[in-house]
Amino acid sequence: MSQIINVEHLNYRYPQQDTDALTLTDVSFSVAAGEWVAIVGHNGSGKSTLAKNLNGLLAPVSGQITIDGQVLSEDTVWDIRRKIGMVFQNPDNQFVGATVADDVAFSLENQGIPRETMLKRVDEALAQVDMSAFKTREPARLSGGQKQRVALAGMIAARPKILILDEATSMLDPEGRAEVLATIRQMKADSDLTVLSITHDIDEAASANRVLVVNDGQLVEEGTPAEIFEHGPALIKMGLDMPYPERLKAALKRQGVTVPTTYLTEKGMADWLWQLISNK
């Protein structure tokens, strides 16, 4: 299989940063066409930075990125952006159009595609994500999951070769998350799309063919989901989601509260919190 994404010795530092520390240090990896790769890691580990480097939203200090045979440079950046569709975390902040159809058409308008073709592609894309009934709706009247599906329809209409999901499901409720994941699986089945998903969600990571673990700006581990999941509790260290009560416990502990060491369910945690407050 051909390599559609190839990253070599990528180093990146945020320009507004005053230290010399790199946000990404010597990152190299490649992704084969049609593969689904998940990138996991803590908040601030550099995974979103990595994604933004791939389509030139951020420019690396050094290193080379090759997308579908084209080396990323100032001259090729717009060609490459056409090949990469990117869905971001916040459903509201990436909805450009005033209605669903307008938003799906946005990338097409940017490419100067004739109107007749646009009309057809927008309808097809909306049908594919099962949002045709909402074509003339305003974003304010959609759920988070529906907005992300519209974002995906925008990608389908623009026909990229690579889809990057930058924590695209992290702000959704479990239902919305399942909807979006199902849509991505469907998209993957319909075409030989390459998917790169940056995620904390264990289900999303499990859908991938391969998982890359990023820590502190470096690629620390790589393997199939099964291999990575064998680590058990250490997954948390890699930035995959801890259950909510565990996160709350960790946060309370940082504030100097003594927390029970046994595992508590959400309900158990709530009961324990009530006790704690009433004893004060």
Binding site: W78, M86, V96, G97, A98, F106, L108, N110, G112, E138
Partner: protein, 268 residues
């Protein structure tokens, strides 16, 4: 509540007026405001009212919406009318005179005319906003500004800004609501105390709202760039406006109205 002020304005419908090209509606509404000033006697005002009421009838929108459109402005209108009545040049029978204040027949008549003008303008502009979705209005503005491209005015960019602004109004309303609730939970009292206290209560609302708006703007800019936005040039358009026969007819109706007004002004 706030939603109603701006966005509840558009009343979906399928009338002739609803289906008109927004460009025609926008331009003709402005034109109407212009020709109101041709009217100078009762016959011309009767004609203008008949025309406006016919347009309202055609739109199928309830009368109460138009009355409600006048209500918030009623004090401003009455104030203007009273000024006109008290201080305008005297003519005809003088009923009352005290210093510079004069109530004359001409003054009273002028007052009534001014009142009619206000009501006509409000009715017509309310008709425009009730029958045209904001997005179509922003499209119409884009087309109308097009000639300014000659002087390198960024028409496409302004139009996109306008449509993004419209798109974010409900989002920011929700956000405001959320922040208000969050601040209420911390003990801020909105709508209590004197005007200075109320103004001070707005500050903890505005600052988080500004911060989040800037964050949103940055995210949106990134998303737009990732989707290949490189400025207005070379973009194609998904939404287009079509000038139809009914728009030509409406324009003709306005032309006839103008001729009739001029006629009535000269000969009645």
């Amino acid at each position: 509540m706030m939603n109603k002020l701006i966005f509840g304005r558009y009343i979906p419908g399928d009338s002739v007026i609803h289906r008109m090209d927004p460009r025609a509606k926008l331009l003709l509404s402005f034109y109407f405001i212009g020709i109101i000033f041709i009217a100078n006697n009762w016959a011309t005002y009767v004609l203008l009212f008949a025309f406006t009421l016919l347009a309202i009838k055609l739109s199928g929108v309830k009368w109460s919406f138009f009355i409600n459109g006048v209500k918030p402005l009623i004090w401003l209108i009455l104030f203007t009318v009273i000024l006109q009545v008290l201080f305008s040049a005297s003519g005809g029978t003088v009923y009352f005179k005290w210093g510079i204040i004069t109530i004359s027949q001409l003054g009273l008549v002028n007052g009534v005319y001014i009142f009619c003008r206000f009501v006509l303008i409000i009715f017509m502009s309310t008709l425009l906003t009730l029958t045209t979705p904001p997005l179509e209005l922003s499209d119409a503005i884009e087309y109308i500004l097009m000639p300014l491209k000659v002087v390198h005015f960024p028409v496409y960019e302004v139009a996109l800004m306008l449509s993004i602004a419209l798109r974010f109004v409900p989002t920011l309303m929700d956000e405001t609501e959320k922040i208000m609730n969050a601040q209420r939970a911390r003990g801020v009292d909105f709508g209590e105390g004197n005007i200075f206290q109320q103004m001070r209560a707005i500050v903890p609302l505005l600052i988080p709202l500004f911060v989040s708006s800037f964050n949103r703007a940055e995210d949106l800019a990134t998303a737009m760039e990732a989707r290949g936005y490189q400025g207005g040039e070379g973009r194609s358009k998904y939404r287009i406006l079509k000038w139809q026969a009914r728009d030509t007819w409406a324009t003709l109706a306005f032309a006839v109205l103008t001729v009739a007004l001029v006629g009535l002004r000269l000969y009645v």
